[in-house]
Each structure stands twice: as structure tokens, then as C-alpha cells.
Amino acid sequence: MPSRTAAIVGIGQTAYAKALPATAWELAMEAVLAACADAGVDVAEVDGMCRFTAPFEPVSEAMLVRGLGIPELSFFAQAPHGGEALGAVVMQAAAAVSADLASTVVVYRALSQSRGGRFGRADGRGPGGAGGADPGADVVVPEQDNLSFAWPYGLMSPGQLFALWARRYAAVHGLRDEDLTRALGTIAITQRQYANRNPNAMMRDRKLDWDDYRGARMISEPLRLFDLCLENDGACAFVVTTADRARALREDPVWVLSATQTVSPYREPMGIYTGGELLELFPSAAAERLFEQAGVSRADVDVAEFYDATSYMPLRSLESYGFVPDGQAWRYVTEQGTGPDSPLPVNTHGGHLSEAYLHGMNGILEAVRQLRGTAANQVPDADVALVGAPAGSATILAR
């Protein structure tokens, strides 16, 4: 996909909260309408949609077309693997407008975890629907993506999975427990500080200091409570269109320089990762492709919004996207940080840890605000932003 042939011209979102009265369907519609209004396009002009599939996706494009009275979509696509869909939906939308399959593509994500599935709650309503009406009955794990080789042992959430990764990282690079705690805690506390200045953030009014961080209960060692993301209700949407239309619509379109998705053996997101080196978040070829297609270097990136189901993921993403050498991110984060004055501000909205959990879509919205110069924690003169999910599903955006 050629660089700068597609642009994000509108962003929209709902409030984020632990529980909202609206259903996921209504939240999705609210976010899509807001994104279209921000773009200055009539929702009836939308002719393409890209969305996430499982887990937690009850809102189909058909529901939105019906609900919003959109005449017809000429292009629609879904991307699987939860947060790994993040770069894929951008890629699909940009490719669609570049190839003239559609001119105005809406990408959206709505969650209503207060009504549906959550990873962190032991009620059996998690992804995959493990657990039935009778809590006393055995749960049979469907033989799909090798989950039947993991779930019977109680490996059922991304938090547990990333705890395994973090422990391996610490062992391979010779970190003491304290080294890892300092690095992960720096990320969690820094993101909370960003959130404290972000009016959209769920944790806007909740401070987090080192005593709170260290004193919190362990969830899955070495990850503590504040190393894990929020679970919530809310929705995000954005509008992707062609270069010509983008220039006609607004003075400050945000250009898609590149977008990637990837899958490789034993790297299926939420899979069981029994092959290769567990430290590899994704094949390094995916990151090279991302930067090559974008035509920018690491040094050109002014701000990064890294997918953070846990605090370990931004830490390792600094290495896997090539900003810091392998094995050095823990030291880099501890010494330089990820705050406003650091070499690369990370998750300037507060991320999933402290703004809200929207499968990375709120990271894309934050990148757009940064590149428009309208972010609550504005990085001065931000020209280029990277938004990246853990397994190489990412996008580089620029103003």
C-alpha cells in the first residue's frame, strides 16, 4: 500500500466507564456518528467498514448499516485476534480507499464489558464462552487454536500469558525482581500521570504512586494489579478516506504512512506460544516492513502509542519495534522513562492501563490528536506517530 494514499479525517468516541447504560450497539453508533461529524461527512456517505472480530464483538457492520440508515457498503472487512486487529483494520481501510473499493471507510470498536465477557472476572463469561449455566459442571474447551492445551491448566487470560513472557524476559536478560518492578512500575505510573491530565481518562482523578504500585496485590507474578489494563464500556471510531477527499475535507488530515498485520508459527495472539523464542513479540520482518513502507526512521517517530494489555507490552514494544536494543528496554525505561520529557513519549493518553481498554483504538485516536496538535498531553511539534499492537500489527501515521 503506497504511503499517503489514505488519511484519517475524523475521530469519534463515547465516554469510557466501568459501566455505561448504553449497549455496545448504541455505543458503536455514537462513536461512528461522532467520527463522521468530526470528518465533516454525512454518515450516509459511508461506503466501507472495518471492524474487530472476537473476543467481545457483538456489533456487526450489518447492525450499523441498519441502525444508521447507511444505503450500502461496497467494502467491509473483519480482523481477528483481539488487539492484533489494530494494524489490520487500518491496513484494510487504507487499502480499500487506495484501491477504489470504497471512498469513506469507518473503522470502529465497541465494548460493553459490564454486560458481557471480561478476562479478569472468574465468572466463566470470558472469551470463548468457557463456562455454562451450571457452575458445577466441567467446562470442555473447544479444540481451537490449541486452547485445549492451555485452558485446562488455568492459562486463560492475556495477563497470565504476558506474565509468562515477562518472567522469561527477566530470566534471559538477568534482571532481578526489583529491576523488573522498577521498569514495569515506571510505565504504569507514567501512564497514570498522563491519564491524570486527560479529561477522557477513566483514571483521571486517581493518583498512583510507588507505594500504591508496590503495595497492590499480585495478579499473576510478576504482574501486579496496576500492571494490568482496565476493563470497561466504550467505543471508538475513525474515518479513512482517499488523499483527494482528505485534502478537500480538512486542512489537517492524518496520513497513513504504513500499516501491517502479521501471523507466524506459534505467534497466534492469545495462542500458547510454545515454539521459537518467547521474547519475540513478532517477526522482526514486520517492523522492518512497517518502517520501510512508511519511509521514516525510528528517530523520526515523535510519539508512540503501544498496545498495553499489561505494562510489559510497552516495555518490550520499545525493543521489538526497534527503538531500543533487545534486552535494554528495562534499563532505558528506568533511566529515561516514557514521560513527556523522555526521548519517546509512550501512551500519552494513559493507555489501556489508565485511559480505557478499547483494543488499541483509543491509541489511534490519541495519535490523531497528537498529530493535529490537540492532545491533552501534547508532544510539541509531533509529526510522526507509531501505534502498535504486540504481534506486529501496527501503523505509522503522520501529519
Binding site: F119, G120, R121, A122, D123, G124, G126, A130, G131, P135, G136, A137, D138, V139, V140, V141, P142, E143, N146, S148, F149, A150, W151, P152, Y153, G154, L155, M156, S157, G159, Q160, A163, L164, W165, R167, R168, A171, D177, R217, M218, I219, S220, E221, P222, L223, P265, I272, Y273, T274, G275, L278
Partner: protein, 155 residues
């Protein structure tokens, strides 16, 4: 109650062997590569109809986490439990849980000689978790008897 594996024609031989107290992995009949979890063909030479071979059941902890918050009600009574990926002496890795290791009452505080760490030598032990369903677990090679009164290990 328990969370039990769904079985297919592809995966049933693994669980059937576990029920008999044997740990097996797939092996290519042509190029002799081994792997886990099961696949319909050899991923190396693409030969069809892979066979199964017993493995020693010896290995080392590749990574682990002590889970202290249950994310499913089936595990609420087992907190804390130790998830691990074990690398078998023969190469393949598998997701499992460790038994007979001290996990401490507080994070990082060992309560016995079996303190878990990356690289810890372990060996397989089998436990029936539901009627007719046996899972391979691992315990330290210089291990001790589990103290949680769980299902007995098969010799």
C-alpha cells in the same frame, strides 16, 4: 469441576496416552522431527499422517507465573497455582502447571525447597482432573509430595 480439553481425532492420542500415564508428542514418520501441539502434517517436510512417540517426561522450566487471581471459577479454589511452559529434553515445549513447588505466602517468598525458577529441572507427573481426563503436570526432579491433597500422582 474442572476445565477439560476438548478432543478431536488429531489430539485424542495425546490425551489417551496421558490417561495411561504416558507423555507422547508427534513425530514425522519421514524426517523424524518432533513437535507439539499436534498438527495434521509434518511442518518441516510436509509428510502426511504423523506418528506419535513417547518422550522421557524430563525437561526444564522455560518460564512460569504464580497465578494469584482466578480468571475462571474453576480455578478459584486452586489459587495460588503455578502456570509454566516446560521445555522437554526432546525439544518441544508444552503449557502445563507445576506441582510440588513452593510458591510462598507472599510474592517471591519461598515456602519450601522446591522454589520455582526458570531452568528448574522437572519431570512429568499425571493427575486425573475429571472422570476419564488426565493431564500431564510437572514437578521438580528433586521434588516432594504435593501437600494440597489433590488427585494422586500416577507412578
Amino acid at each position: 469441576m474442572a476445565v477439560v480439553p476438548g478432543m478431536t481425532d488429531l489430539t485424542a492420542p495425546y490425551w489417551d496416552a496421558a490417561r495411561e500415564g504416558r507423555l507422547v508428542v508427534q513425530e514425522c514418520r519421514s524426517c523424524r522431527q518432533v513437535w507439539h501441539p499436534p498438527l495434521p502434517r509434518c511442518p518441516h517436510c510436509h509428510a502426511a499422517d504423523p506418528g506419535w512417540r513417547p518422550v522421557s517426561g524430563e525437561g526444564a522450566v522455560y518460564t512460569y507465573t504464580v497465578v494469584r487471581h482466578a480468571t475462571h471459577y474453576a480455578f478459584a479454589g486452586q489459587i495460588p497455582y503455578v502456570l509454566a511452559i516446560v521445555e522437554l529434553a526432546e525439544g518441544p515445549r508444552l503449557v502445563t502447571a507445576l506441582v510440588g513447588v513452593g510458591v510462598g505466602v507472599e510474592p517471591g517468598e519461598p515456602d519450601g525447597p522446591g522454589e520455582v525458577r526458570v531452568g528448574l529441572p522437572v519431570r512429568v507427573v499425571f493427575r486425573e482432573v475429571a472422570d476419564g481426563v488426565t493431564l500431564p503436570y510437572f514437578e521438580p526432579v528433586a521434588g516432594r509430595a504435593p501437600k494440597d491433597g489433590g488427585p494422586p500422582a500416577t507412578p
